[in-house]
């Protein structure tokens, strides 16, 4: 292979692959190193090992069907990608989302952000030898995922945030499971602060290693915790407030040198802020009007049979996986504006209009058809600004959908950060960048 590094390499230096299938390379990233002993003379990175044709696949799916693909982009904080895609479509369709759905969205996204930072720091600490931190953080992440799983039904790939709202309402016992998740995470964060903050080994491996100047960070298009570690204040939640972030108070931690230790520090402090946000939003969300145990519930088939004559008055017992999207709670969690409205199941079973509009929504060629034109909208993801650029030509399939992947820009600076350093410095530098294959190669 005519690789650049093979052409430029000096004859006596050693050429080594830190290849795709490497524990610290998250399985999909390859660094070719030209070594003089332990010193790195030259490095070349190769990506694309997890290129799954996301943008081409989206051009052949309808707007509604491609939501699950957005979960698998930054699969460590999937709900933030959902949010980015859903809000881009809402900006294009001009749809207003109900208040309660916005609060649930902020809660879910902050939970995802914490699990993103937890996974990144766990992997970085484990690769530097702190295996206990990895086990502690995975334990904390289990509690966060419990809340997400009880609400959305899946631990990770949830497709929960839909265009126009959320899929289902919060379940009954959500307040105390959020409370346990928050205090468990706080306990783990306290432990990790004790374990790593003044740990000489961790400090020697990360302080002053992989430092980047502010001009370089901006020139490489860095955003998110990595940019804030160099001291530049740019957070999409503050710069272009969306959802309720302008009403909630949280501050943005900043580093000063832009090295690995600051990236670790900024992520740890950002988790504190996200915990504060979760508590504020949990206080804001009112208790939903529970459908309550009606005296008599009938099966859907029975309701349809009765529905032929007159609209049945009894309540319909829905299947368990529709729990949370009953008719009485429906307007609070999903918008009623025309182009994105899917009627609740009770209407679909019993009324003619519900059945037709439901069928029409999912029929090929109908569904969500935004006006012609292109739109760009971005949200603050775990790694930085996750932006969706959608070009629509009026049909129900996007003509072009492009994702602005934050870690594509962050990782493009890796070659410059590790040139001239020792071989062991590659691991903490790459770990603190939090490269996610799904988002990098799309």
């Amino acid at each position: 292979m005519g690789l650049r590094i093979q052409k430029e390499a000096r004859p006596e230096s050693m050429l080594i692959n830190m290849g795709p299938s490497h524990p610290a390379m998250h399985g999909t990233f390859r660094i070719m190193l030209e070594l003089d002993g332990e010193k790195i003379l030259n490095a070349e990175t190769e990506i694309g090992y997890l290129h799954r044709g996301f943008e081409k696949t989206c051009e052949n799916k309808t707007y509604f069907n491609l939501l699950p693909y957005t979960d698998r982009l930054n699969y460590v904080s999937p709900q933030i990608n959902n949010l980015g895609y859903a809000m881009t479509m809402e900006k294009m369709l001009g749809v207003r989302v109900p208040e309660r759905a916005q609060m649930i969205r902020v809660l879910m996204c902050e939970l995802s952000r914490i699990s993103d930072h937890l996974t990144c720091l766990a992997a970085m600490a484990m690769e530097n030898g702190a295996f206990t931190v990895f086990l502690y953080m995975m334990k904390a992440r289990e509690f966060l995922w419990n809340v997400i799983e009880f609400t959305t039904g899946s631990r990770m790939t949830t497709s929960y945030i839909r265009i126009g709202g959320v899929r289902a309402d919060l379940y009954e016992g959500w307040r105390d499971s959020v409370k346990t998740a928050v205090c468990e995470t706080r306990a783990v964060l306290k432990d990790v602060h004790g374990l790593l903050d003044r740990n000489p080994i961790f400090l020697n491996r990360t302080r002053g290693v992989g430092a980047i100047s502010r001009e370089d960070a901006l020139s490489y298009g860095w955003t998110g915790p990595c940019l804030r570690s160099t001291g530049i204040l740019y957070d999409v939640r503050k710069a272009h407030p969306y959802l309720l972030y302008d009403r909630l108070d949280f501050d943005i931690p900043l580093g000063d040198h832009g090295d690995n230790y600051d990236r670790y520090k900024v992520r740890m402090l950002e988790m504190e802020q996200s915990l504060r946000l979760i508590e504020q939003v949990a206080a804001l969300i009112p208790d939903a009007a529970l459908p309550g145990k009606a005296d008599e519930e009938i099966e859907p088939a029975e309701a349809i049979r009765r529905g032929r004559m007159s609209k049945p008055s009894e309540r319909i017992r829905l299947s368990p996986n529709l729990e949370g999207s009953e008719k009485v709670r429906y307007p609070k969690i999903l918008t009623v504006d025309a182009p994105v409205f899917v009627p609740p199941k009770e209407d679909t079973y019993t009324t003619m209009e519900g059945l037709i509009s439901h069928f029409l929504f999912f029929m090929d060629g109908y569904g969500i058809r935004p006006p012609k034109g292109d739109v760009y909208f971005s949200v603050e993801g775990g790694n930085g600004e996750v932006g969706f650029y959608i070009v629509s030509d009026g049909t129900d399939r996007p003509y072009r959908l492009h994702l602005r992947a934050p870690c594509f820009h962050i990782v493009s600076a890796l070659e410059q950060l590790i040139r001239g350093r020792l071989l062991a410095d590659v691991i903490p530098t790459f770990g603190s960048m939090n490269m996610i294959g799904g988002e990098l190669d799309r």
């Binding site: 690789l3 093979q6 230096s13 050693m14 290849g19 795709p20 390859r30 332990e38």
Partner: protein
């Protein structure tokens, strides 16, 4: 005398079995790819390993030296009770000499990779 020979016999056979069991019971399927070096799955960039740098040799020698030193601690620790003070001074001298060696190497900076 008898139990010494017996213990050598038992432990010898046991360790031989544990070492050779792989050789006896492991299936053999020759595979050309297995001869190539493992480079994280990607094709190796250069064939063969070039000359290795000097600092690697220094660190290797130092390690060998100290490993042997630790190997000498073991019999001394066994025979320590009846040797008393004389044993302690012998051990102290031995450790002192090698300790000086390490401090000298440290100050000369063979661990600091220039």
């Amino acid at each position: 005398m008898m139990e010494l020979a017996l213990s050598f016999l038992v432990f010898g056979v046991l360790s031989a079995v544990m070492i050779l069991i792989n050789f006896i019971l492991g299936p053999r399927k020759p595979n050309p790819a297995r001869e190539k070096p493992f480079e994280c799955g990607s094709p190796p960039l250069q064939s063969g390993i070039g000359p290795v740098n000097i600092p690697f040799f220094l660190v290797a020698l130092l390690f060998l030296l100290l490993d042997v030193e630790i190997a000498f601690f073991y019999p001394l620790a066994l025979a320590f009770r009846d040797r008393g003070l004389a044993g302690l001074t012998a051990l102290g001298g031995f450790v002192l000499v090698l300790g000086l060696g390490i401090i000298y190497a440290w100050k000369k900076g063979i661990f600091r990779w220039s």
